[in-house]
C-alpha cells in the first residue's frame, strides 16, 4: 500500500514537472516523448479506494471472467438456468393471477360484508335510533307443545309447515295442504305473512288459517290493513280522512268491509316475529336442507347483528336489500347509493361467521350495558376471566335461520341460514311450503297457481 502510494506520488510529480516545464517550452523531438499518460495515474487514484490494496475489476469489465456481463452470458447459455428462470416467471404469473382473480376479489368481498358491522364515524350504526313502533306483539315464542320432538312429542312425529305469501289464494292453499297430507293434530302451520290482499279470497284464507290453528307473522299488507282500520273504524269523532278522497283507500276499505271481527282479531294478533327454538332431536350438521338451529320467522327480513328488539318494524315487514356500508335496509332491491346487497346475503355471511365461531368482538354494540360488558371482557386476560365468570353474555350470539316471504321477484331462495318462500302465487307463480320434521330435515313442496292479477 505504501509502496503503491509512493509510486503514484512519484508518477504524478513527474507528470506535473513535465506539464509545467516541458509543455510550454515545446522542445524538439518526436511527439511521442511528450505523451505523459498522466491521466492513467489520475484514474487510478480515483478508481482505487484508499482501503483496497489490489486492483478490483469492475462488474462490467468484459476482460474479467467473473464480471457481470460474462457471468450473465454464461448463465443465459446454460439450459438449467433458463429452465429455472422460466419456472420463476411462471410462478410469478400464477401468483399475480391468483391475487387478481381470486384473492383480491375474495378479500374485497369479505371486506364489503364486514364493513357494515364495524363501528366507525363514517357509516354510523343502524339500530341505535328509536325507530318505528309496532302495535302488537313484537316477538312471540312458539308454544312448546307445538315443537317437533319437544315436550309433547317424544317420538318426533310432529312437523312444522312454513308457507310463503298466500295473498288470498284459498284454493291453492287447500291444494298445497292436501299435497303434504297436512294433519292439524300433528302438524303446525306457520305462514310468513301477507296471507291477505291482492288475491280472490282473503277472508276465506283467514278462515282456513283459523280453522287449522295456524300462526302467521304480520306482513306489510296486514300492517296496512291494521293501521287503516284504526282510522276508518275508529269511534272517536275524527275529521274525515284525506284517504277518503283517494283510490288507494278504496282497496283497503273494500277489504275491510269483507272482514269480520274474528278476522281483524286474527290480523291484530299476528306478531312481528315468531321464534322457534332449536329442535331437540335435530343433530347439528351442514347442509341447506337441514335445520338444527333457532328459527326466526318474519315477513321480509332482518338486519344481522342488530338485536331483535331493536329491529325497525317497518323494515322487518318491507326490506329487500341492505346497504352494505350503513346496514340501512330498503324495500327496494337496488337503491340510489349502489351499495345494495340482498338482505339475506349479509344475513348468511354473518350467521356463517357465528357458526364457524369467528369473533364478532369488534362489531357494533347497541346498548350501554353491552358496551360495558365488552369493556370488562377486553381488559386483559384477568378481565376476560373475570368477565366470563361474573357476567353472562347479554346476548347469546348463536346462528339463527330466518324463514321469510315478501320477495316474489327473487322467488324461492333456500340457503343454509335463510329460507325465502314467496314464489309469487297470486301472480301465477307457485305456492311454496317448507316442511320441517323433528330430525331437522326440510322438504320443499310447491303447487301451481292461477294468475289473479
Amino acid at each position: 500500500m505504501e509502496k503503491q502510494e509512493a509510486e503514484d506520488d512519484l508518477r504524478r510529480s513527474r507528470s506535473e514537472r513535465h506539464r509545467l516545464h516541458i509543455t510550454p517550452a515545446h522542445p524538439p523531438g518526436p511527439l511521442i516523448d511528450r505523451v505523459t499518460n498522466g491521466w492513467r495515474g489520475d484514474v487510478k487514484t480515483a478508481a482505487n479506494p484508499p482501503t483496497g490494496d489490489d486492483y478490483e475489476p469492475g462488474i462490467c469489465d468484459f476482460e474479467d471472467e467473473g464480471s457481470c456481463p460474462n457471468v450473465s452470458r454464461d448463465l443465459v447459455r446454460s439450459r438449467r438456468f433458463r429452465r429455472m428462470m422460466a419456472l420463476v416467471l411462471l410462478l410469478l404469473l400464477v401468483a399475480y393471477y391468483a391475487w387478481q382473480a381470486y384473492l383480491r376479489p375474495r378479500l374485497q368481498q369479505e371486506w364489503n360484508f364486514k364493513e357494515g358491522f364495524l363501528p366507525g364515524r363514517v357509516n354510523g350504526t343502524y339500530g341505535i335510533a328509536r325507530a318505528g313502533d309496532f302495535d302488537g306483539t313484537t316477538i312471540r315464542d312458539i308454544h312448546p307443545d307445538l315443537l317437533p320432538g319437544g315436550v309433547a312429542d317424544h317420538q318426533g312425529k310432529r312437523r312444522l309447515v312454513f308457507i310463503g305469501d298466500i295473498h288470498g289464494c284459498r284454493k291453492e292453499l287447500l291444494h298445497l295442504l292436501h299435497s303434504i297430507d297436512f294433519d292439524p293434530t300433528t302438524d303446525h302451520l306457520i305462514a310468513t305473512g301477507d296471507v291477505i290482499s291482492k288475491g280472490p279470497n282473503s277472508p276465506g284464507v283467514l278462515d282456513e288459517l283459523i280453522k287449522v290453528g295456524a300462526e302467521s307473522v304480520r306482513g306489510n299488507h296486514e300492517d296496512r290493513l291494521v293501521e287503516a282500520a284504526k282510522t276508518l273504524l275508529s269511534t272517536d269523532l275524527q275529521a274525515p280522512s284525506a284517504a277518503t278522497t283517494s283510490k288507494g283507500y278504496a282497496k283497503d276499505a273494500a277489504l275491510l268491509k269483507e272482514l269480520k271481527p274474528r278476522h281483524m282479531r286474527y290480523l291484530h294478533d299476528m306478531p312481528l316475529m315468531l321464534r322457534i327454538p332449536a329442535l331437540p332431536l335435530a343433530k347439528k350438521r351442514k347442509g341447506k336442507h337441514h335445520i338444527a338451529e333457532d328459527i326466526i320467522v318474519v315477513h321480509a327480513g332482518l338486519v344481522p347483528h342488530v338485536p331483535l328488539d331493536r329491529q325497525d318494524p317497518y323494515f322487518v315487514m318491507n326490506m329487500r336489500s341492505i346497504d352494505h356500508k350503513t346496514h340501512v335496509p330498503s324495500a327496494l332491491h337496488e337503491t340510489k347509493t349502489g351499495n345494495s346487497k340482498p338482505w339475506f346475503d349479509v344475513w348468511n355471511w354473518y350467521q356463517d361467521r357465528l357458526d364457524r365461531g369467528r369473533s364478532v368482538g369488534g362489531f357494533h354494540v347497541y346498548s350501554y350495558a353491552e358496551w360495558l360488558e365488552k369493556q370488562i371482557q377486553e381488559d386483559g386476560w384477568f378481565g376476560k376471566l373475570r368477565g366470563s365468570v361474573l357476567s353472562k353474555a347479554l346476548r347469546k350470539l348463536n346462528p339463527q335461520v330466518a324463514v321469510y316471504g315478501h320477495d316474489s321477484k327473487m322467488g324461492l331462495q333456500v340457503h343454509r341460514w335463510s329460507k325465502g318462500l314467496d314464489s309469487g302465487c297470486v301472480s301465477g307463480g307457485r305456492l311454496t311450503a317448507m316442511v320441517l320434521d323433528a330430525r331437522g330435515e326440510t322438504e320443499v313442496v310447491q303447487v301451481g297457481c292461477k294468475n289473479y292479477r
Binding site: 364515524r121 357509516n123 354510523g124 350504526t125 343502524y126 341505535i128 335510533a129 328509536r130 325507530a131 318505528g132 313502533d133 302495535d135 296496512r224 293501521e227 287503516a228 284504526k230 282510522t231 276508518l232 272517536d236 269523532l237 275524527q238 275529521a239 274525515p240 280522512s241 284525506a242 284517504a243 277518503t244 278522497t245 283517494s246 283510490k247 288507494g248 283507500y249 283497503d252 331493536r310 325497525d312 317497518y314 323494515f315 318491507n318 346497504d323 356500508k325 350503513t326 346496514h327 340501512v328 330498503s330 324495500a331 337503491t335 347509493t337 351499495n339 347497541y366 346498548s367 350501554y368 350495558a369
Partner: protein
C-alpha cells in the same frame, strides 16, 4: 273604471291588531312579493316579525319549539284535524321521538279536509296554554298561540310565494310551525294520469301509499300521526346515513339517554347557550332541569323520555 280600483292584496293580520311584546313590527312586508301572505322577520326566516324582535339562543329555541309542537299536537287532537309530522321533525321522531336539537323549524302536514275545516272554523283563533312545570321550583307561565290560515290555501296549483297554507305561531317568541296541505294532484288527474301522486305546494310529491294509512305514535310526549312508510320517506329525503349516523351538526346521539346531545356548546351567534345570569329566562328555557336533578327518574336505555311538561289549555 276597474283598472283604477286599487289592487286587493291579502296580507297577514296587521301588526296593530296582533301586537304582543315588540314595540314595532320586525317585518319587511314591502320587500316581499306583493302576493305573499306570510312575512318572516327581518332577522331570520324562522321567526314571525310581528311577534319577535330577536332570534332565540340554542336552549331557548329548543324549549320554545318543544312547547310549540306540544301545543299544536294537543290543539289539532282536540279539534280532530288530521295532521302528521314530516321532514326534519319526522327524522327527530325516528331517532328519539323529539325535535332534533339543531333543527330550527317544525314541519307538519294536514289533509285537504282538515285545512278546509281549520280555515272555516279556526282561522285567527288564539289558543292560550299554561306551560306549567310539574316541579315547584320552576315558575309556570302561559303562552298564546295563533292559528293563521293563508287565504291562498284554496288555490291548489303551484304557488311559489304561498307554499305555506297555515301557521301555528308562538305570539311570545315569533317561532312558528309551517303547515302545508297534502293535496290530490288535480292537474295530473285532469290529464288522466292513472297513478297520480299526491302533492304539496312546495313541489314535494308523495305516493298515497307512503303517507296513508297514518300510523299512531307520539312526539314530544303527545299523540302524533306518522306517515305509513316513514322510513322510505326519510331515506328518500335524507339518504341512508340519516338513519345510521350518530354524529351530526356538532351533536352525538347518546344511546343511553336515547336523545341527541351537543358535543360542545354551539358557538355561532344564534346558538349561544343561555346565559345563567338571566335567572328567569334560564328557568323557563330548561324545563327538564328539575327533572334531571330528581333521583330515581333516570331514563332507562332506549326508554321513553322524561315526562313532558304539563300542558293546560285555558278555557
Amino acid at each position: 273604471m276597474g283598472s283604477l280600483r286599487p289592487r286587493l292584496a291579502t296580507r297577514d293580520a296587521p301588526f296593530e291588531q296582533v301586537r304582543e311584546s315588540p314595540t314595532w313590527s320586525h317585518q319587511n312586508a314591502d320587500e316581499d312579493e306583493p302576493d305573499k301572505y306570510f312575512h318572516e322577520s327581518t332577522f331570520s326566516e324562522h321567526y314571525d316579525g310581528r311577534f319577535a324582535d330577536r332570534p332565540l339562543n340554542y336552549d331557548e329555541r329548543r324549549s320554545h319549539l318543544t312547547a310549540l309542537m306540544q301545543t299544536y299536537l294537543s290543539t289539532m287532537n282536540d279539534i280532530g284535524a288530521e295532521t302528521w309530522i314530516m321532514h326534519g321533525s319526522l327524522l327527530g321522531w325516528y331517532w328519539s321521538r323529539k325535535i332534533l336539537p339543531w333543527d330550527s323549524d317544525i314541519d307538519v302536514m294536514v289533509s285537504e279536509q282538515s285545512i278546509h275545516h281549520l280555515a272555516n272554523y279556526y282561522n285567527m283563533t288564539v289558543h292560550t296554554f299554561d306551560l306549567g312545570s310539574d316541579s315547584d321550583d320552576v315558575e309556570s307561565h302561559s303562552s298564546s298561540y295563533l292559528l293563521e290560515i293563508n287565504p291562498h290555501y284554496t288555490n291548489s296549483t303551484l304557488d311559489s310565494v304561498n307554499k305555506i297554507d297555515a301557521r301555528w305561531i308562538d305570539t311570545a317568541t315569533g317561532l312558528f310551525i309551517d303547515i302545508t296541505t297534502l293535496r290530490r294532484n288535480t292537474t295530473a288527474e285532469a290529464l288522466g294520469i292513472e297513478d297520480a301522486m299526491m302533492m304539496v305546494k312546495d313541489k314535494h310529491h308523495y305516493n298515497y301509499d307512503d303517507i296513508f294509512p297514518l300510523r299512531h305514535s307520539d312526539f314530544e310526549g303527545y299523540p302524533a300521526k306518522i306517515p305509513f312508510a316513514y322510513a322510505e320517506l326519510l331515506i328518500e329525503e335524507y339518504g341512508e346515513k340519516a338513519l345510521s349516523d350518530v354524529y351530526y351538526q356538532n351533536h352525538r346521539f347518546d344511546p343511553e339517554k336515547g336523545e341527541w346531545v351537543a358535543l360542545r356548546n354551539p358557538v355561532d351567534g344564534v346558538n349561544l347557550p343561555a346565559s345563567s345570569s338571566d335567572e328567569e329566562e334560564t328557568a323557563a328555557s330548561r324545563p327538564h332541569a328539575a327533572d334531571r336533578a330528581r333521583p330515581g327518574l333516570e331514563t332507562p336505555f332506549g326508554g321513553r323520555p322524561l315526562p313532558p311538561r304539563l300542558l293546560k289549555q285555558r278555557p
